[in-house]
Assembly symmetry: C2
Homo-oligomer: 404 residues x 2
């Protein structure tokens, strides 16, 4: 007898990440892919992590392999809190909860704050993983435009007055996907809005340490304190595979996260937490960040140079001050989704911007990752992309012209 | 200005795990605690895991530290599938999804199957972690009594007819907390019910490999196939700290779990998955299971002997064929919750049974863990518990007698 499976409403509505589907297409041999958001694996600090693993198992193996606290092991929380303090965010270990990647932080935020139909205000475009995490709790999205200084704060205030949101979600540093950084002035005004209207603000900050141009800007929590929930992660600065990230919030909020995380997965990998702690304690983190900062900064420059050389001048892009991504705008009416097939035929891949808009209403943008491929591959890949775009964008321009 | 936090309905309803709160009380110095469910840390295979970690980082460090597939790394899924096949469960790697502990498996099951108000049929008592995981999805619980052969299947059928449940949740082997094992005859009838009424059955099996008495019984999925979703874990047989567990289900169900897990945490720790894979591949798992089986079997025998010697004969207990727990029944009217304070004063601790009932309607039971303490401590601890029980149960008996 066949068994008929019936799933919950939220499961029926949940689609697979568009990116994960796209990544499957782009995994063909010889394709130079700018589609993922992967760090450069050849720069992983394998030897230092090996020594840290050894030390952890030699010195406190029994603790490292046992069940541990839901909010995270104390030494890791403490060393992260000290690090945050040095960056101007006044916190103690009590303000920190360790999560299984920032994706789990996003899921917990949805779980802790969102009832069905609640409004989330976000940047347009916004981080796809946040859309996916929050959508399990079935919110409504209200998107706010960005310009070169980040999200337009007047429009955030309008959205708050009109929609009474439960959360404001932003990626202030080198946003994924746009690469845009929120200016200091706007950071201040945004946290004032959070306080004035009593709306929690989520500051998702995976890339803050990867700045290549300009000066470090204070985090929203550093500026605005309590209404801000910060998300940090070791994924882009040490290793994404070990899935260690953290939520920073006031202690009463941390307590609620902790209760919810008990039901979700009891606690994050104890061993991986100790390994990361040992790695930081032994002084490896800052030199390593310096090393990848230099490498990624160079790759960014190479990509910008190649874009300037190979792309038709009707195509525009944003030059990010840090992070992993470059955001490209095609002329109005050109579909980046449709172009992808032609690009993959030319053995180059990117992610269309469409899934980064909660209602997928924009299709003439695309995201390029510059951290994963080496400089030579970046040049060759952008050359291939240029060829595709020169052909297809010209075609589109001509069709537009014929229509008019 | 103070910030007023407002949480979602589910967060407001979620209480902290009663056990985690109790564990805090029992963590006083000199207390012999039978309260947790911890494996014996002195038996962790630290050296073999250290060698596995080394090998993984030496041989495929870049892969082990990078993002990986949501359903889990292929070699681990394959080696687990082969293991399951040898135990009579016909599956391939496509039937397996790796999770961050079985607790995440439980959360995913809730997420994938439960709409608010849906009914879950479970054993009475049942596993606290399942109550906690599913409660985030706000189901109704229908509990079914157990006897020495496990859950009473006629009552399960009645519950199905009356309540039209979305899920049946059972822990067939050495159940947490009761230690009871579901008989072969009842296993067969239970999966027939799942098929007949088209209700998915969750077979949560963390202890199956830890049998000390009698013969291994086939898993529900081995007997009944598709309506059964199996949960397995390395927590009790290798290490709980590395948080690696697995869901076994038909491929269409795995696909839905995979979509949901993308939003939940992208994927489980890649490094830990490789380490576990390497550990199993190098042939360490079965000898290690044999070693802890012997140790725990001895501890179980010691505890039963001590209970027989020290406990008043109005107190009854179940002798489990495996697992980590012994279940104690106090005379009607005696509150195990109230007794705990007196026990901790005598420097011994247990977990009251109350939180293992979804509606907390029974309070004369308690759970004793025998895996974590060594044999001498078990004897001493049970002696102390005996002293408390002889005093308090006598008091209660006398009060009962005076009432009558």
């Amino acid at each position: 007898m066949d068994f008929k499976w019936t799933f919950s409403n939220r499961a029926q509505e949940m689609r697979s990440s568009a990116i994960r589907e796209i990544l499957k297409i782009t995994e063909k041999p010889d394709v130079i892919s700018f589609a993922g958001g992967l760090p450069a694996p050849e720069l992983f600090p394998i030897e230092d992590l090996k020594r840290a693993s050894q030390k952890v198992l030699d010195e406190y193996g029994q603790k490292a392999l046992q069940y541990s606290l839901t909010n995270g092991i104390q030494p890791l929380r403490q060393i992260l809190a000290e690090r945050l303090c040095r960056k101007g965010v006044e916190v103690t270990e009590e303000n920190i909860l360790i999560t299984g990647g920032s994706q789990q932080g996003l899921d917990l935020i949805g779980r802790v704050f969102l009832n069905e139909g609640d409004v989330v205000v976000c940047e347009s475009p916004t981080y796809l993983g946040a859309i996916q995490a929050f959508n399990a709790y079935r919110p409504r999205w209200v998107t706010v435009e960005m310009d070169e200084e980040g999200v337009i704060v007047e429009q955030v205030e309008k959205a708050i007055r009109k929609h009474n949101p439960r959360l404001i979600y932003v990626v202030p540093n080198f946003q994924n996907p746009s690469g845009i950084t929120l200016s200091l002035e706007r950071r201040k005004r945004l946290v004032e809005l959070g306080q004035k209207y009593q709306v929690p603000i989520v500051d998702d900050n995976p890339y803050g340490e990867l700045r290549y141009v300009g000066q470090h800007l204070p985090s929203l929590r550093g500026l605005g304190g309590d209404p801000v929930i910060g998300l940090g992660t070791c994924s882009k600065i040490v290793s994404p595979g070990i899935r260690i990230a953290w939520v920073v919030a006031s202690t009463n909020v941390i307590a609620v996260f902790e209760r919810m995380k008990q039901g979700v997965d009891l606690h994050t990998n104890t061993f991986a937490q100790y390994v990361l702690y040992q790695y930081i304690k032994d002084g490896h983190l800052d030199p390593h960040i310096e090393e990848i900062r230099k490498a990624y900064s160079h790759r960014r420059d190479v990509m910008i140079e190649a874009l300037t050389e190979y792309l038709p001048n009707t195509v525009k892009w944003h030059e990010p001050d840090g992070g992993l991504f470059l955001w490209v705008k095609l002329p109005q009416g050109v579909s980046a989704t449709k172009l992808l097939e032609a690009a993959v035929d030319q053995k180059v891949a990117y992610v269309p911007g469409k899934p980064f808009y909660p209602y997928e209403d924009t299709d003439n943008t695309l995201r390029l990752n510059f951290s994963n491929a080496n400089p030579d591959m970046i040049r060759e890949g952008i050359k291939r992309l240029g060829k595709v775009l020169r052909e297809k964008v010209k075609d589109a321009d001509m069709r537009e012209a014929q229509k008019n």
